[in-house]
């Protein structure tokens, strides 16, 4: 048996700040970011002068940058950067923050995601897929073919899974329905009205096998978490959410190389946390699309390869299920704050703050982030308990 990594359980999330999320107009990403950081500081019981680390992830609108330091009047920073690996960025920020506080390079590091791509009167798809400038040269072939934005790529991966393993449309639908059932219990969620399988099937096609309801929302807002050393978090006003394990994996080539990024990333995180997939009691999985969830569940080892569809259809992920997932409604039904959506929900659940949607079994919560077209992955294992 190898010695446990000294980073395992050494750090914790001590503060969480969330702005109003969703169709919130006439505010900039920078303004959302500032509000989220200040809210997280207040939640952690910290004065602004105690914040000495700031990591930023701007979303698709790229509306926040290092000028946030000036906006917030931060004067004590010893750690600062803006980073982006899309949907895995948030998990990565927590990792870099954890390493920094563990080694004493900073005491309290704020990790913030902020975005404001939605304009009043504009459809979500315009905010994302439509705004891209036409690229010169070979890059022009993609949109001419019909590959605009990430949706076609994910949809084609999903259809492959259906062809190879017999995954069904109903099984993808089960993931959308589970998210909506949880969202109904989350007062912050954008889409709270109940969703039936018939309504899912009636939702317009985008790129088959994806209906509109297989794709996540687009949201305005910001979420921030504060990472600090475990003993410092214990002295704070709120219950610490311990970081038991961390992992990342990246690869820009398209290939069938095995193991996948999500496998590599989750194995690293589970190994650091000293746990197996069967020890995970709840998961917050990056759900940019229903299919992303299905394949992540397989890669993380919660079910066998090819069995993600039946697993989702079994009801395991929905309220009352064996592996409660995306208990705030996820990005499919609640709010799309990239990797901060799953992280924030894990913090809320670990603290016991989830109200009507609170899950009792929460000792180990797996959190995933996925970026690009399966190009970037980050995994966290979070817990309300110190690592014994």
């Amino acid at each position: 048996m190898t010695a446990r990594d000294s980073l395992a359980g050494a750090t914790a999330i001590s503060g969480l700040g969330m702005t109003e999320l969703g169709r919130v107009y006439e505010r900039t990403a920078s303004d959302f970011a500032a509000e989220a950081v200040l809210a997280a500081l207040a939640d952690a019981g910290l004065a602004k002068s105690e914040l000495d680390g700031l990591l930023l992830n701007a979303g698709i609108s790229q509306g926040v940058d290092l000028s946030l330091v000036q906006t917030l009047g931060l004067r004590e920073l010893s750690l600062l950067t803006q980073m982006n690996a899309y949907g895995s960025s948030a998990g990565q920020m927590v990792q870099y923050a954890a390493m920094a506080v563990h080694h004493g390079l900073a005491r309290n590091v704020a990790c913030v995601f902020a975005d404001a791509p939605l304009l009043r009167g504009q459809r979500a798809g315009q905010a994302y897929g439509g705004a891209r400038a036409r690229r010169p040269g070979l890059g022009s072939v993609l949109p001419s073919l019909g590959f605009a934005g990430p949706i076609p790529f994910y949809a084609l991966h999903a259809q492959r899974h259906m062809d190879v393993y017999g995954t069904t449309q109903d099984q993808l639908g089960a993931i959308a329905l589970a998210a909506r059932a949880w969202a109904g219990k989350n007062p912050r969620a954008t889409m709270r009205e109940p969703l039936s399988l018939a309504e899912y099937h009636a939702s317009p096609w985008v790129v088959a096998p994806f209906h509109v309801l297989d794709c996540c929302l687009v949201s305005n807002g910001a979420i921030c978490v504060i990472v600090t050393r475990a003993e410092r978090a214990r002295a704070g006003p709120r219950p610490p959410v311990y970081v038991h394990g961390l992992g990342q994996a990246h690869q820009l080539e398209w290939s069938d190389a095995s193991p996948s990024l999500a496998q590599r990333s989750s194995r690293a995180a589970f190994e650091m946390a000293g746990c197996a997939p069967a020890d995970i009691e709840m998961c917050q999985i990056y759900d940019c699309y229903t299919f992303t969830v299905l394949t992540t569940l397989e890669d993380y080892g919660f079910c066998k390869r090819g069995e993600g569809g039946p697993f989702a259809q079994s009801g395991a992920l929905a309220p009352g299920g064996a592996l409660p997932m995306n208990t705030g409604g996820g990005m499919l039904s609640s709010y799309y704050m990239w990797g901060m959506t799953p992280i924030s929900e894990a913090v809320i659940q670990a603290r016991g703050d989830a109200g009507e949607r609170q899950v009792a079994r929460k000792s180990r919560i797996a959190v995933s982030g996925n970026g690009g077209i399966f190009n970037h992955h980050a995994t966290l294992v979070l817990s309300p308990h110190a690592l014994g």
Partner: protein
């Protein structure tokens, strides 16, 4: 023709061999003259061995369907009135995966099907890679 892409940064200029070949109905790919690895999309350095000695060569135009999907709506204006279309990701025998479409008149494609390349012109004349399923040989 060796293309030292590191010295040629203009993507339109660098893509010229691709479009010249496509106009002849041929798919051109970059290939590393040091290790033989094919590359897509455009790059200035071989991802396998690091060499900058990349040349253009003609792909055989055959491969296997990785994934497929029916494009029903799109933000791309020129596709208005042309939907639905079947999009493909094809793993070429050269070892690269390329986005493409199913050729007009074809249907019923599945992941794993062998396919062969052709080109169809987009609305603005851009030659687009399309694939049709290989004619299956009669079983002996």
């Amino acid at each position: 023709m060796a293309d030292d892409g590191a010295k040629v940064s203009d993507p339109a200029e660098r893509s010229r061999p691709y479009f010249a070949a496509a106009a002849r109905g041929v798919l051109a790919l970059q290939r590393c003259t040091s290790c033989g690895a094919s590359a897509f999309p455009l790059r200035s350095r071989c991802g396998a061995c690091g060499s900058t000695a990349l040349e253009w060569h003609e792909a055989a135009g055959a491969g296997r369907v990785f994934g497929h999907g029916q494009l029903a709506r799109s933000s791309v204006p020129e596709l208005e009135g042309r939907l639905p279309l079947t999009l493909l990701l094809v793993d070429l025998d050269e070892g690269v995966r390329i986005p493409a479409r199913l050729a007009a008149g074809e249907s019923g494609v599945r992941a794993g099907d062998r396919v062969t390349l052709g080109f169809e012109a987009a609305g603005d004349g851009t030659p687009l890679p399309v694939f049709r399923r290989e004619a299956r040989r009669a079983e002996p």
